[in-house]
Symmetry: C2
Amino acid sequence: MENIVDIILDAEQIAILTHTSADGDALGSSFGLAFAMEYLGKNVSVFLEEPIPKSLDFLPGQQFVSEYKGNKFELCICLDTSDMTRLGKRADIYSCAQKTITIDHHTTNTMQADGLWIDQRASATGEMVYNLIKALNIEVTRDIAINLYTAIVTDTGGFRYSNTTPESHIITADLLSKDVPFAEIIKRVFDTVSYSKLLLLRKALQNLTMHFNGKVAVSYLLYDDIKSVDAQTDDFEGLVNVGRNLEGVEVSLFLREETKHIFKGSLRANEYVDVAQLASIFSGGGHKRAAGFSSEDNLQNTIDKVLAEIEKVL
Amino acid sequence: MENIVDIILDAEQIAILTHTSADGDALGSSFGLAFAMEYLGKNVSVFLEEPIPKSLDFLPGQQFVSEYKGNKFELCICLDTSDMTRLGKRADIYSCAQKTITIDHHTTNTMQADGLWIDQRASATGEMVYNLIKALNIEVTRDIAINLYTAIVTDTGGFRYSNTTPESHIITADLLSKDVPFAEIIKRVFDTVSYSKLLLLRKALQNLTMHFNGKVAVSYLLYDDIKSVDAQTDDFEGLVNVGRNLEGVEVSLFLREETKHIFKGSLRANEYVDVAQLASIFSGGGHKRAAGFSSEDNLQNTIDKVLAEIEKVL
């Protein structure tokens, strides 16, 4: 990290970039670092591909967001971004900078940089930015703390995902001591549901059926249902878990008619069924407890075939 | 706390009690402390009012649970219990013990004890047991860590409730370093839904309507719907939040026909509406953003009256 500290201290004009479809860790890391750079007297700009999503528009630091006018930067710092394609139209800002730094926690990172710091043990890039700010002897202000708390809490699913570490909690303890309104942040990033998502959930619950003594839950959404509610891609997220979270369920199957007559199937298991193996029978794949496949057969045939395979391994 | 350490070190036969309807903090604190007492060579028994709920039956330490045979104890330690009525049929075990200790984080605690330790800043009694175990110089084993993690995570709603403190995270960091399977614990205590609860959610979603440009969500469950799914009391928990969590909603009203023709109303607000004030119009009460009332009027009249009052303050 010393290398990175030196590069930062040497630069005056700094651009901060993060990946397209910026999430809580991407934006929280970027704004948190921008405040720290400002404290050091740097001229700092954050460049984003898209507008800030509504669920994250409470983040302080949006005054650092600039429109790119083609100028070259002394230093470009790229956060939470595993490869150049994830910089979208902003790749040139990175390529043309005199010096570059990449800070990321993705194992698959393929970026080139003068200062490259990859730490796959970090639950969030926000954790790494926290450690960098400490190394730079900069005080963690409330604005910085709100950003880094949001980064960590979103990337760990609220300290629930297996990437959460003792270090995540130690850093969070320090951030909370800066009077972070964490209950409000949680509400904004986790508890707010769009109406289209609610309508899809309602339909998915109507379509839910149980099989094999309550060990298997099946649900689906048809193309027309999805069209009628003007659904966004992330509205489907988690619908397969409605069945998986039911008491007594081992396997949950969720089918979504992605385009007319083509179903995207999601399979989840709780304890022992290898759903990657099941998905492979239908030319799909994935992990032992979370897998997927596609089917061009009709809904009932698809369900029947998958249930027949599940029955063999229950 | 020294007083409490001395009382513990002096006793050989120890009974541990917690409140009726024991939850994650009650059971986690009890079993965590029981392991520590065993480490000190004490003869320790935990007495419970009811069987351990399914969602918590993974907790280690259930071998300490005993049936009460009328004997008197040298020391009875009561955890997370604000008054004697919450000891149910086990009140005598506490009353008849030679020495008593009470450890609790409820501000309303009215217990008498030789060693009384109330700390309302603690997010969970499990935090206090952690500090006691440290004061006793006992190693936090994996079994203890699983119990205390469960105590803290359940009483803070997964570090989401406003009672969460930096201390909660610091203690959790230490507990996680003991190889606690936290992702599995989270799944058991938060993500498992009973089938009856799912059926109520499905019905509540079917009954959901939006009013005043999406600012108000209304839903209800009728007596016969509730009866037909053999619902438990806690199956209703959170149904009012389905409406409250919808993007753009300020007030959520949820009505449940508790007995024939009597509706129990729950009101929640997000930002500015004072629902305690609204509830008081219907002889109810509560907090500014969470309140309740009863209505013996029919469903449609009740909804119309409440909506008319909400409209005035939107």
